[in-house]
Every structure is written in C-alpha cells, then in structure tokens.
Symmetry: C2
Subunit: 197 residues, 2 copies
C-alpha cells in the first residue's frame, strides 16, 4: 500500500473542491472530510486557509507551466501548428481535471497579494508567448493584431469552453468521448481561424 502522503492528498482534494465550487464556498472541514482526516490535521500541514490556497495555486501554476512549455518545445515551426499543439496539450488536463482551469478563474476573487505571486510565476511564459505571437505577426504568418490582447482572447476561449460545460449542454453537446473529440477539433478550428493571416 503506497498511500500518498497526507499533505499531497489534501492538495489534490483542495484543487478539485476550490476549482469546482470556489475558494470561499469550500470549508476546511469539507476538504478534511474528503481526504478522510480531521480538520486539525489539515491545519497542521497548512497553518491557515490562506496558506492552503497559496499552496494550491502554486501547484496548479507549476503544472500548467510544465505542460505548456513542453508542448511549445516539442512542436513544429509553423505557428498555427504550434498553437494547435498547445491547445491539445491544455485540453487534455483541462478536461480530465476541470477544476484546474476553474481555479484559474477564481483569481478575481482572491487576495490580490496571492494573485500577484501567481502572476509573477507565470509572467515569463506569458511574455514569451506574446513575443512569439508578435514576431509571427511581423512575418505575416499570423493575422496582424495586438499580440497581448490576442493572447488574452485565445486564453479566454480555451478556459471559457473548458470550464463551462453548462453552456455546452445548452447547445445540445454531450460529454462523451466522441463529443470531447468533436469539441477539441472545433476549438482548434476556431482558434486557428481567429489567428490565421
């Protein structure tokens, strides 16, 4: 019986609960119950709720940064192909664990100090992404536009669609394997068309 360490199990459960229902809406008791431990054990590992939130954000940021940079490195020279690869890379974890991106959307509700810390963690990735978009626009391989806002818009499309199954159900989408593949392909087509020159 390997049994993951308590601290990791707490983080796992917290990512899901915070991501799905919102940080403020989830109590320490609830997380502890999900882990199968008392609230006070949780407060042993993370001295306060805020500390737990900070730790959760750190792990999520790291995970996303790793996935995305790997996808960027591994892919083609053509920017549209490369962007495709990033979308595929993000789509997997996002669908497997919707709470991941759901957490990102919690940012607006969190302590600005925490937000700033997270921002500094992902800033290099964002800057690299913006610079890349800009250079490809210069070379005429992407549609000319404000690279910063285009980056934000593409991000909004991907996280929006991944975190709102309700919107998809409203247009009659079904969450099975075929549905997921269709969704991923439509998403790629949408972003590709939005960015193509």
């Amino acid at each position: 019986m390997p049994e993951r360490p308590t601290r990791d199990r707490i983080l796992d459960e917290a990512v899901d609960l915070f991501g799905f229902r919102g940080v403020e809406a989830v109590s320490l008791d609830e997380i502890a119950r999900a882990v199968g431990v008392r609230k006070q054990s949780l407060l042993y590992w993370f001295p306060s709720k805020e500390a737990l939130v900070a730790a959760v954000l750190d792990t999520v940021a790291d995970e996303l940064v790793v996935v995305i940079t790997a996808a960027i490195r591994a892919s083609d020279d053509d920017p549209l192909v490369r962007i495709d690869a990033v979308i595929r890379a993000v789509f997997g974890p996002a669908v497997r664990r919707p709470a991941l991106l759901g957490l990102v959307r919690e940012l607006g509700r969190l302590d600005p100090e925490l937000v700033e810390r997270l921002r500094s963690r992902i800033a290099p990735l964002v800057e690299a992404c913006v610079a890349y978009l800009e250079s490809e626009m210069e070379r005429g391989r992407l549609r000319r536009a404000d690279p910063r806002l285009v980056a934000a818009l593409a991000y909004a499309t991907v996280t929006g669609i991944a975190t709102e199954p309700e919107a998809l159900e409203t247009v009659g989408w079904s969450r099975d394997l075929a549905g997921l593949r269709r969704l991923r392909d439509e998403l790629r087509g949408f972003i590709r068309a939005a960015l193509a020159p």
Copy 2:
C-alpha cells in the same frame, strides 16, 4: 426622493455580490447590510436564499435576452456585421456591470433545477442563434463548422474576456476608456476572423 422599492434594491445588490464573489460565498446578512436593511426584511421579500437566487437569475436572464434580441433585430443583413452588433450590445452591459456575466458563470455551481429553469428561458434565443449560424454557413457567408459548438465557443470568448480582468491585466492591459475601446475592437476582430468563411 424617489427611493427604489426595497425588493428591487435587494435584487440589485444581490446581482453584484453573487456575480462578483459567487452565490455560496455571499451571505444573506451581507446582502442585507449592503442594502441598508436587516436580514429579516430580506427574508420577508424572498422566503429563502434559494428563492432570492432564482429571482436574481430571472432578472439577469431577462435583461440579457432583451439586449441581445434588440441588437439582432436592429442590424444589417451581412452575418459578420450582425454578429458585430451583438458583441457591441453585450460588451456595453458586461463592462458596465461585470457581475452580470459573472453570474452566468455561476451556473455550474447552482442547483440543477434552477439551471434548468434558466436554460428554458434562454433556449429560444439559443436555438434561433444556432439556426441562424447554420443557415449562413449553408450560404457560404460563414466558415463551415458545427454551428452549435461555434455558438458556444463565441460565447465562451466573450464572457471569458469580460469576466476575467485579471487575465487582461497579466498581459498588461489597462482598464481605461482607451483600453476598453481597444479591447472591444480586438474582440470583434477575433470573433470576426474566427467566423469568416
């Protein structure tokens, strides 16, 4: 001193608080305090928190449906121009009152019964929108794709960008008048490129 009726003031305040911070995270006491009244007066107008949430969703849905249908009716024959008009129409209220779309994003966390009620309210609009996209795709005036998923993707882009000022700030966007205009124009360009044939 006209003084709006208490019930309306409660609804107003509830839209903002629920939209910004999440339904589960906002207490009745807090709403009552914001209105300047005791919690029990609030429970006089809405017999429970759930009833208040339902009323809030109704008013928001009505408001959005009115704005959107008006924009559709008033605009041109060219589908790209018409979609432009809808985006402009949604962008105004969304920026003036970010909580509006924020509330829409709360759907996944609410009682499924409430969600179903809201869905039935906006279903006609959604179906009309999908049918319209489909017919214009047939005529070759929009990019050929699954009209249902395209509708969801465009929705995700607009609400995503409107409800996540943090993402925009991360790419160095500033929330002044010029910034808003630039954002609106980039959003229109993005959606237009994504949908154009």
